[in-house]
Structure formats: C-alpha cells, structure tokens
C-alpha cells in the first residue's frame, strides 16, 4: 500500500512537472509567434494557471493518447487568449505548439517501450522535459515575425502541414507491422518537416513584408513623377502666358481705346483660364507636402471631389519624404475612395498644422457606408481585398510610431476623420 501510495505521489509529481514544462514551452512559443501581451496582468496569470492545470492533467499517466493531445491544444488555446494578435496567427501557434509537444512525448514513449518500464520511466520522462525545455529556449531565440499578416492562402498552406502531421503521427503509431525504430524515425522525419516549415514561414513573412515595402516605395515614386509632370505643365502654361503678355496687353489697350468693355472682360477671362488660376494649387513652400497634396488634389479634382486644404507649416521644416507620402498618401487615398461613392457632398478637408513643434494632420470627409471594427476595436476596411488594403493603415501606424505619434481615425457626427499627431 505504502509503495503504491508513493508511486502515485511520484506520478502526480511527474505530471505537475510535465505541466510546468509544458506551460513554459507554450509560453516560449507564444512569445516567439505572437505579438506582445497587452491585456491585464491578472488575466495573463490566470491563463497560465489554467494552462498549467490542463497540461498537468494531460501529463498524468504515461500513455500518449488523444486526451493528451487535446490537453496541449486546450492549454495553448487558453494561453493564446492573453495575447493580442490575429486569430490566424493564434491558431497557427496553437497547432504548432501542440504538435511539437505531442511529437516529443510520442518519441519518449517509444524510447521507453524498449526499456524495463518501472525502472526507467521517471528518468526518461524527466529527460523528455529537458528536451522540451531546450527546444523552447531555441524557439524563444527565434526572431519574432513582424506584425504583418500573410494573405489567407499562404496561411492555409502553412497551417495545413502541422495538422496533417498530427494525423500522420497518430496513424504511424497505430500501424501494425512496423517496428519501433521505424515508427521512431517516422515521427522524427515528420517533426523535421514541420521545423523546416517554421523556417520557411519566417522567410515567407520576411519576403512578403519586403514586397509590401516595395509597393509603398513605388507608390511614392508615382507621386513624385506625377507631381513633377503637373508642375512642369503649369510652368509651361505660365511661360506661354508670360510670352503672350505683351501681345495681350496691346490687345487690351486697343480694345480700351475703342471703349469695348465687354470684349476686355472676355479677354481677361480667357487669359485667367489658360494660366490655370482657377485650379487649386497648394503652395505651402514645403516641397514634400506640396507634391503629395497637389498630386492628390489633382486626382480629387478629376473625380469631381472638392479638395480644401490648409497647410500652416514652416516651409523649411525637415520631413522625411517617404514617411510623409505613406501617411498622407494613404489617408487621402482612403478619403477619396470613401467620397467617390457619395452622390453629394463630395468634399475632402485637409488641415496640416505645426503646433508647439509638432505636426498635426487632419483629414475629414463625409461617408456613406457603415463602419466595421474588428475584435480589437480597430477599423476594418470595406474593400473586398481586406488584407492588402489594411496594409495602408498598418503602414501609417508603423511610421507614426517611429515619431512617438498616434493615428486616430473614426466617424464623428457626420464626418469620417483621420488625425495624425507626430513629434518631429
């Protein structure tokens, strides 16, 4: 009785140890895969405790079965809730983590099957935990993928691998006729494949991020080229007017001598028109702001949107052209898309101020569609291509953060307002 009792205690102890290590591994994985924890401390502690209890229950007993797998899944699932990240990334984390934990346990069981059970059980179990710990430390060192999210088709591809692997592993274990060594290497190779996929995933998100940056850069180049064209066009009109001014004045003089007032007015009107005096032209003296704003003003003008802009910013203030074109370009793109759909009130108001040494950008427009928010209270785009479009806002946020600034956007009474404050 005493021996059985102490054996039972020992089992519980080992299970608790398993729970502890399991939770540690899950935590490490979560930190490697997911964005920083942002929810309350109490919630974090609670989620870890629940995870610990679940995983300990799973670790009780030596058999590796579906129950154990479910425990790991549940544990990881609970922990994933204390992290603020997209559901896609969270599910990936849950699946990968449980796969690796179960894989290691299975390998251990196979190892144990070869030795005398009662004697070698505990040392092997403890060495399994050590292996888990080492893997967790390795994973913890992995570079955290940046906050961009992959398009859904890539995500499906990446998550399918561990899901299938789990199935294969269970299949492998139930296969009759294979010897333990074959099963052992089978599992090893499946796990190896999954590790490779993790590495590829890192590379994939890195490449994807680069292509996004490339896109933003291209967009900025387009702004510049178009603005340059726009400026050279108006320069040429002004030059030709200058050239003609002598002739024009002579004509007016002639008309005046004949007291033909009506003709004079007509003449002046026609000159006014050709000199481009009636088109909007933003001239704050700050080349970077002017080029982005004029380009967008031109685009709005062509789409029948009235574009009112007030820029009160020092003309020699140093602004990063790339950052500014991403911020202002994206906000205005969104505003133009929203206003285009309206039947009336096609109007965009832009205010850029420099107050107490900081830049404050404010863009407002009327809007029609209902506005949707995601689980974290962030605005969702109404565009179909949600992933690509959300990049605009993500890019703004990333840059604004660099300046200790903040982007606030949302509906007010009857307008949609985007506001950026940047410490420069």
């Amino acid at each position: 009785m005493g021996i059985i009792g102490s054996l039972e205690n020992m089992n519980i102890l080992i299970a608790l140890l398993g729970g502890l290590f399991g939770t540690y591994v899950i935590n490490k994985f979560a930190n490697a895969f997911l964005k920083d924890q942002r929810k309350s401390k109490e919630l974090n502690l609670l989620s870890f405790f629940v995870c610990f209890v679940i995983v300990s229950a799973g670790a009780y007993g030596e058999a590796v079965n579906v129950f154990k797998l479910l425990c790991y899944l549940a544990g990881a699932f609970v922990v994933s809730f204390s992290f603020e990240d997209e559901i896609r990334k969270r599910s990936m984390f849950v699946v990968y983590t449980s796969l690796i934990l179960v894989g290691i346990q299975l390998l251990a069981m196979i190892l144990m099957a070869g030795v005398v059970k009662s004697q070698m059980h505990y040392p092997i179990q403890i060495s399994v935990y050590t292996v888990e710990y080492i893997i967790a430390v390795m994973i913890g060192r992995m570079k955290r993928p940046d906050s961009i999210s992959l398009p859904i088709r890539y995500w499906v591809a990446v998550i399918m691998v561990p899901v299938c692997s789990l199935y294969f592993i269970t299949l492998l274990c139930r296969m009759v006729g294979l010897n333990l060594l074959e099963v052992f290497f089978g599992i090893i190779s499946i796990l190896a494949t999954d590790f490779v996929i993790i590495v590829l995933y890192e590379a994939l998100s890195e490449t994807y991020k680069k292509s996004l940056e490339q896109k933003a850069l291209q967009q900025e180049n387009i702004y510049y080229v178009e603005q340059l064209q726009y400026m050279s066009e108006s320069y040429h009109t002004i030059r030709s007017v200058k050239h003609d001014i002598k002739n024009t004045l002579n004509s007016i003089k002639g008309l005046a001598q004949n007291q033909n007032n009506e003709k004079i007015v007509q003449y002046i009107d026609s000159v006014n028109k050709s000199a481009g005096f009636n088109t909007i032209y933003i001239d704050s003296g700050n080349t970077i702001l002017d080029s982005i704003l004029n380009f967008k003003a031109q685009e709005s003008f062509e789409k029948g949107i009235s574009f009112t802009c007030k820029v009160s910013v020092p003309n020699d203030i140093e602004l990063d052209p790339f950052d500014m074109s991403v911020i202002i370009g994206n906000i205005l793109d969104n505003a133009i898309t929203a206003v285009e759909k309206l039947d009336s009130d096609k109007e965009i108001l832009v205010n850029i101020d420099c107050k107490k040494g900081n830049l404050i950008i404010n863009v407002s427009n009327k809007f029609a569609e209902a506005i949707k928010y995601d689980a974290n209270g962030r605005l969702l785009t109404s565009k179909l291509d949600r992933v690509n479009h959300g990049i605009g806002i993500n890019n703004i946020e990333k840059i604004v953060k660099k300046y200790n600034g903040k982007l606030t956007s949302g509906p007010t009474k009857d307008c949609f307002v985007s506001e950026v404050i940047m410490y420069i």
């Binding site: 933003i282 001239d283 704050s284 003296g285 700050n286 820029v311 009160s312 910013v313 020092p314 003309n315 020699d316 203030i317 205010n351 101020d353 420099c354 107050k355 107490k356 040494g357 900081n358 404050i360 404010n362 200790n404 600034g405 903040k406 606030t408 506001e419 404050i421 410490y423």
Partner: protein
C-alpha cells in the same frame, strides 16, 4: 471689451477685416475695439507706449518693419506671451521664424469671411478663458491672478509653487484641487507634481516640454500618452 489691433500696409484689407470683426459682436455677445495700424512701425511705436491688445492681426509682408519683426518684438522685447497673434499673408508659405512667435493661426489674402469668423471665435474663446481669475491665499492675503498669466504649478511637500509670467508664489494647497478648478482652462498634469498651462507651452516634446519662460519640464512616462491625446484634442479644429 476685447481690444484688437490690425497691422497691415494695405488700408483696404485692414478696413475689410475690421468690418468682419465688428460683425461678430452680435454673434459673440461681446464688444470689440479694433484699431488699425498701417505699417509695422506704427504698431511698434504704439506698443512701446505700453498699449496692450488681446489679439493682433499681423501682416507678414510689410515694407518698413515686417510681421516677423513685430511678432518677435512682442514676444522678446515686451516679454508678452499672452497676446494672440494671427498672421495675414498673401502667400501660403511660411518661414520657420514665424513659428517661433507662436502664432494662433494664419489667414490668407484675399480674406475669406468664414475663415476670419472662425479665427475670431477661436481667439475670443482663448481670451475669455485667459481673462478668468484664479484666486489663492498667501498668508492672510487673497491674490487674484488672471489665468493667462499662470505658467505652471509645482507641488513641494504641502505647498504649491505657482510660476507666472511675472512672479513666483508659494502657498498651501493641493494640486488635485487646483486641477479641478482649472482643467477647463487647458491645465493638465505632466507629472504627479507638475500641473501646466497648455497655452504657455512653447515646445511640446513626447518626453519633455519647454515653457514660454524657458523652463524645461519632464513628462512622466505614465502621462506621455495622455498628454499626446490632450495635445491633439486642444489643436483640433471643430
């Protein structure tokens, strides 16, 4: 009554602006007194005599003494951090020097009536808030100070040190109570022992700020986001 000066070398525009301001009297239920000075020198001579204005509409491009010079004289020579300066210009491009004068706003010629009205309303509100009185007790004496003259409060032990544009006062009090009294006047905490007047901040960084008297104060880590939020809120155009 609110005293306003218009300083422009163009008499027609000055009168036009004067009429626009007077037309706001009824809407704001306030009497305005608007003086016109043709040229920067004229206004400068008047200011030298000690004449004070609540707000000055200042043309940037003037032949003898331009708006930048006059603005700088107001802030640096007369140490006047309270008068609201509104720049007028036919250009929409502004030099960095202009911003050192901390103008309230800019108007572009030809003047747009709606914009003038918005600026006058904003100036009026700022002046009204600044003219309110903050009473406090030093020893047995009650002192009444216009809020526009208060820069910031600092708490030390059970005492409060109040820095103003002219003097420094020390009295028994609690910053929390003062905050409750002045929060509608754009006073806020940047640190648990510093309560500042937003209108007297000359440069506001994320981690620290500079007051109009040159004092540098640190914004505590826990207050930075809140201060940023207020900064955006105070500068929001309605």
């Amino acid at each position: 009554m609110i005293k306003i000066a218009i300083c422009d070398d163009d008499a027609i525009i000055s009168e036009q602006l004067q009429n626009m301001i007077y037309s706001m009297e009824e809407f704001l239920h306030e009497e305005f007194h608007v003086d016109i000075y043709i040229g920067g020198n004229k206004l400068y001579e008047e200011l030298k005599k000690g004449t004070e204005f609540h707000a000055i509409f200042l043309d940037i491009e003037m032949p003898d003494m331009d708006g930048i010079d006059v603005g700088r004289k107001i802030r640096e020579e007369f140490h006047d951090e309270i008068t609201q300066i509104i720049y007028i210009s036919s250009q929409s491009s502004y030099a960095m020097q202009l911003f050192k004068v901390r103008p309230m706003d800019f108007l572009i010629k030809p003047l747009d009536e709606l914009q003038v009205k918005a600026v006058v309303t904003k100036a009026y509100n700022l002046i009204k808030i600044g003219n309110q009185i903050f009473p406090f007790v030093v020893g047995r004496e009650t002192i009444r100070k216009p809020i526009s003259k208060i820069l910031y409060f600092q708490s030390r032990a059970r005492k409060v040190i109040m820095y103003t544009t002219d003097e420094t006062y020390e009295f028994y009090g609690n910053l929390g109570d003062i905050y409750e009294q002045l929060k509608a006047n754009k006073f806020f905490f940047i640190h648990k022992s510093y309560l500042v007047n937003y209108n007297h901040i000359s440069r506001l960084g994320y981690e620290a700020l500079v007051m109009t008297d040159g004092a540098q104060l640190e914004i505590s880590q826990s207050k930075r986001k809140e201060v940023r939020e207020l900064h955006a809120k105070f500068e929001r155009r309605v």
